[in-house]
Structure formats: structure tokens, C-alpha cells
């Protein structure tokens, strides 16, 4: 049973596809890097997986996973950093699945939260308002929340953007730890070197899938060139996509 199954998925905005006719499976426990140029549809694909964006066409199956069993770390999150909330309370929201609207946070849960904060290296920051953190510290806080979510599928959208090498190394270790625990991890990334050394499987995306498979086979200069040449702009006068008609005629 695959953790994720894409069936002819088209995702986009205003009928314009940003991810076009994607088919394939992600095995449980996979560590998959999604790469591609800006505008290739990486973020759109991840938004589709976590259910924020509904597919224009086709379907995404979560192989038995509840939608709440997904932890999603968005790119430059729409977080209102000026809101007066402490690091502890913010990370604690990761326990939502257990606490819901009214559940209390007892001693055990509190311990768990403190451990999560400690494991991203932020001991002593518990009572700081999130507005006073640096970009890298905020990213650590978001990782701590993902950690608490204890999800079977973890979706990270460019988690290492604008983060220094020390923080990147720490957080990458966490990602590999999740992989070691058998969780399925998807990450949209830009750093080819990191993908090559740390991610076993890669999807090269350029609106449509360019290549998908073991990183060593997929991450070739040819594939990257194909992805780079992809046209970024939407064509306002584009006709309705006819791929589906062609498919049904063939069948």
C-alpha cells in the first residue's frame, strides 16, 4: 500500500495548471526530494497533498492516512509573528490532534513539548514571544511543532531557505531521524548537493513530471536542463487541456 498515490493529478489556480497530469506513487517510509525551477509547481503539489488546494483534475490518495496524520511545514509560513504568543504555546499547537478544542495540556504533554523544543536546540526560549526570534530560530520552532505532530507523512516546503549551515545541519539531522523512524518525508528543495547526498528518491518537476526515481539516476544534467527550459508564464488564451480526450479515445 503506497503512502501517496497520484492519479492523473492536475493542480492549479484559475483553471491554469501549475502541476500537470502527474501520476505515480510514494512508498511508505520514502524520503523524497521534489526539485525544479521556481514556478515548477513544487509548492502547489505539496499544497495539494496536504489538502489545502483541491485538484482541478484527477485525485490524490493518502493510502489510509487521515488528513490529520500529515504534518505540513509551509514556505515562509503565513504566520503573524507580531501575535503575542510564546514559543511554548506555539509549539504546543502541534499537539492539536490529541488535545483538540478543549483538551488540557497535562504534565506529560508539557514534558513532551519541552523535549521537542530542546531537540531543536531552543532550550531557554520557551517563554520568548515568537516575534523576537530570528528567521533560523523560527524555522527551528516550526520543526519542533512538526515533531510534536507525530505524523506519518511529513511535508516540508523549502525548509532550508535562508537558513545558515549550522541550523540546516541540525534540522536535516531531524529529517533523517524521521526517515529512520519509518515516516514518509517529502521535501521541496533547491540545494542539489543536499539532495544528492541525503535524499534517496527524487522527483524533478517542471509543471509536468520530468523524471522520478532513485536520486542518482534522476539527478542528471539532461533532466535539469529540460526542467529549466520549462516556460513559467501562464498563457491567458490557452485552450482547455485535451489530454483527457486523447486518453479516453485511446481507451
Amino acid at each position: 500500500m503506497a503512502a501517496l498515490h497520484f492519479h492523473n493529478v492536475t493542480l492549479g489556480y484559475d483553471r491554469h495548471p501549475a502541476v500537470h497530469h502527474l501520476n505515480g506513487e510514494v512508498a511508505p517510509g520514502a524520503l523524497l526530494a521534489v526539485i525544479g525551477p521556481n514556478g515548477a509547481g513544487k509548492s502547489t503539489l505539496l499544497r495539494g497533498i496536504v489538502g489545502i488546494l483541491r485538484p482541478l483534475d484527477g485525485s490524490i490518495h493518502l493510502g489510509g492516512l487521515d488528513s490529520r496524520d500529515i504534518a505540513y511545514l509551509p514556505q515562509s509560513a503565513e504566520i503573524d509573528r507580531s501575535f503575542p504568543i510564546s514559543v511554548l504555546d506555539f509549539v504546543a499547537t502541534g499537539l492539536w490532534r490529541g488535545t483538540g478544542l478543549f483538551g488540557g495540556i497535562g504534565k506529560a504533554a508539557r514534558e513532551k513539548i519541552l523535549r521537542a523544543i530542546a531537540s531543536v536546540g531552543l532550550n531557554g526560549f520557551e517563554n520568548r514571544p515568537i516575534g523576537t526570534l530570528s528567521g533560523g530560530q523560527m524555522q527551528r520552532v516550526l520543526f519542533a511543532r512538526v515533531l510534536l505532530q507525530d505524523a506519518g507523512l511529513i511535508v516540508l516546503d523549502e525548509p532550508f531557505n535562508a537558513i545558515d549551515s549550522k541550523t540546516t545541519a541540525d534540522l536535516l539531522a531531524l529529517v533523517k531521524h524521521w526517515h529512520g523512524e519509518g515516516r514518509t518525508v517529502l521535501a521541496a528543495l533547491h540545494d542539489m548537493e543536499m539532495v544528492r547526498t541525503h535524499f534517496s528518491e527524487t522527483l524533478v518537476l517542471a509543471r509536468g513530471p520530468v523524471a522520478w526515481g532513485p536520486t542518482a539516476e534522476v539527478l542528471t544534467p539532461e533532466n535539469l536542463m529540460v526542467a529549466m527550459r520549462m516556460c513559467e508564464a501562464f498563457d491567458d488564451s490557452a485552450a482547455a487541456c485535451s489530454a483527457d480526450d486523447a486518453r479516453s479515445r485511446a481507451a
Binding site: E78, I79, D80, F83, P84, W96
Partner: protein, 289 residues
């Protein structure tokens, strides 16, 4: 002497005691709502909603004269209609909440002024626009207290999703469907408290006892719980001092309350611990770490 000025009015006159009770009820419920309005960058939304309830209140006034129940019911219906319509439009289209609300409240305000001017006298219009907290009867006071109680109960229920939605709406959407209902319930609470304040302070100033205390609290704390407490206290103090001021000087009570709150706000802007002007001008020597 001081007793006569500060406490005498309330021991001597029943209408002053009622007014004080009303203003404390309004503070307890309205100030926390105001804090969330401010933190969600919806301060002006509250203002717009205050105008939106006018046609409903005006219809109530047309049907049964200066009857506070009819006006309250009408105001609630109009306010809910505008809040929910604007909320739905904002959620189902790309339009931002403030923009969709602006269109709805302008239409609503125009309708309200038209209705009042068809039948009412100038005195009526003044009462609708500025309220009269000194004319509270028992029943009205009970309605105000009831609305305040309901507000606090509902706020307790939606508190967690409301906070998370304010900080990180995308996260809430991935873990729960409570965000939408919580947001609508919050808008409903805004309407209830505007109508509540409407009887005491009138349509134009009702929002003042919600937003001004929230603005004051922002300058004294970085913690949400503390901010809410400060806002409630600031609102109650403004209400009390405004009533005393109004009693001694014959300034109308509603404006007196809001003027006191404004004075507290100016003091907070100048001397507040968190980002106050004086604090920024004279921050002291920088720290070691």
C-alpha cells in the same frame, strides 16, 4: 469631599448604579473581543460593523418606537446578515474580508440613515447615534448582562482555534475544520457586543469601549492573557471615570466614557512599557546580552 465626588453619585442615585453595572458588563465582554479584533487587524472591521447594525435598529425603531428590545433584535439581525455575508464572500472568493465588509456596511449604513430620517425626530436620531446609558431600565440591564455572559462563554469555547487562526491560519486548516466556524462565531460575538454597547453608547461610539482598551493593553504587555485583563480593567475604569465626569460636568455620558478611554490611550502611547514613545526615546543603555 472626595467621597461625594467619586462614590456619592452611585450611593445616591439608582440610575447611576445601573449605568455602572451596565458599563462593567460591557467591559467584561467587549474588551476581550476588542483585543482579538486588534490582533487580527480587524479594528476597523469593528467600526464598519457598528454602522452595519444601524438599519436593523432603525427598522425596530420604526415598528415599535424607542423600544430597546425591538432595536436590539433588529440590530442583531442586520449585523449578523452583514457579518455572515461579508465573511462568506471573503471566504469563497479572493476578496479580502475588509474589502467585502466595506461594501456591505456602506449599503447598510445608507439604508439605516434613510429609515431613521423617514420617521424619527432629531432627538430620536441623537439617541440612536449616541445612546443613553443613564436611561437603563431593569430589563435592558438584564439583556446587557445576558449578552455579556453569552459572549464570555462562546469566547471560551472558540478561544483555542481563534488564537491559532490568528497566528497561523494555514496550520489550523491542515489540522482542523474549526477555523471557519470559529471565525464566524467571533464575528457574531462582535455584533452582539456592538448591539450591547449600542444601548449605552450608541452606534457611533459602541466600538470605542472595545477597541480603545485593546489599544491601551497593547502598550503594557506582550502576553495575550495579560493583555485581555488589562483591557477589561481599562474599559471598566474608563466607564466608571466617564460616568463620574458626566455626572459632575454634564458632558453626555457616552462621549465622556470614550473621552476618558482616549485619555488613557494617549497616556499609554506616551508612557507604555511596550513600545511607548518615551520608552523609545529614552531606552536606557543597551544590555550586555
Amino acid at each position: 469631599m472626595i467621597y461625594d465626588a467619586l462614590i456619592g453619585p452611585f450611593t445616591e442615585f439608582e440610575f447611576m448604579r445601573r449605568a455602572l453595572a451596565a458599563v462593567i458588563a460591557l467591559s467584561l465582554a467587549g474588551a476581550p473581543i476588542g483585543v482579538f479584533l486588534m490582533l487580527r487587524r480587524m479594528s476597523l472591521v469593528g467600526d464598519a460593523m457598528a454602522h452595519a447594525i444601524l438599519p436593523g435598529a432603525a427598522v425596530g425603531f420604526l415598528l415599535s418606537g424607542l423600544n430597546l428590545f425591538a432595536m436590539t433584535a433588529g440590530g442583531l439581525i442586520a449585523g449578523f446578515a452583514v457579518a455572515i455575508l461579508a465573511g462568506l464572500v471573503a471566504r469563497s472568493t479572493g476578496l479580502k474580508e475588509d474589502a467585502s465588509l466595506a461594501t456591505f456596511y456602506l449599503a447598510s449604513l445608507a439604508l439605516g440613515v434613510t429609515i431613521v430620517s423617514i420617521k424619527g425626530t432629531n432627538i430620536d436620531l441623537l439617541h440612536v447615534l449616541f445612546g443613553n446609558i443613564l436611561a437603563m431600565d431593569d430589563q435592558t440591564l438584564l439583556v446587557v448582562a445576558f449578552n455579556a455572559t453569552v459572549t464570555l462563554l462562546v469566547l471560551a469555547v472558540i478561544y483555542r482555534p481563534l488564537v491559532i487562526e490568528s497566528v497561523d491560519p494555514l496550520f489550523l486548516r491542515t489540522v482542523s475544520r474549526a477555523g471557519g466556524p470559529a471565525h464566524l462565531a467571533f464575528l457574531a460575538l462582535v455584533v452582539i457586543n456592538l448591539v450591547n454597547g449600542f444601548q449605552a453608547l450608541g452606534t457611533l461610539l459602541a466600538v470605542g469601549l472595545m477597541i480603545l482598551p485593546a489599544g491601551i493593553a497593547r502598550f503594557w504587555s506582550r502576553d495575550l492573557t495579560v493583555m485581555i485583563c488589562i483591557a477589561v480593567v481599562a474599559a471598566a475604569v474608563s466607564g466608571y471615570a466617564g460616568l463620574v465626569l458626566s455626572f459632575q460636568t454634564r458632558v453626555p455620558s457616552g462621549p465622556a466614557i470614550i473621552l476618558v478611554a482616549s485619555a488613557l490611550y494617549i497616556v499609554s502611547v506616551l508612557f507604555g512599557r511596550v513600545g511607548g514613545v518615551v520608552r523609545q526615546l529614552f531606552p536606557g543603555r543597551h544590555l550586555e546580552a
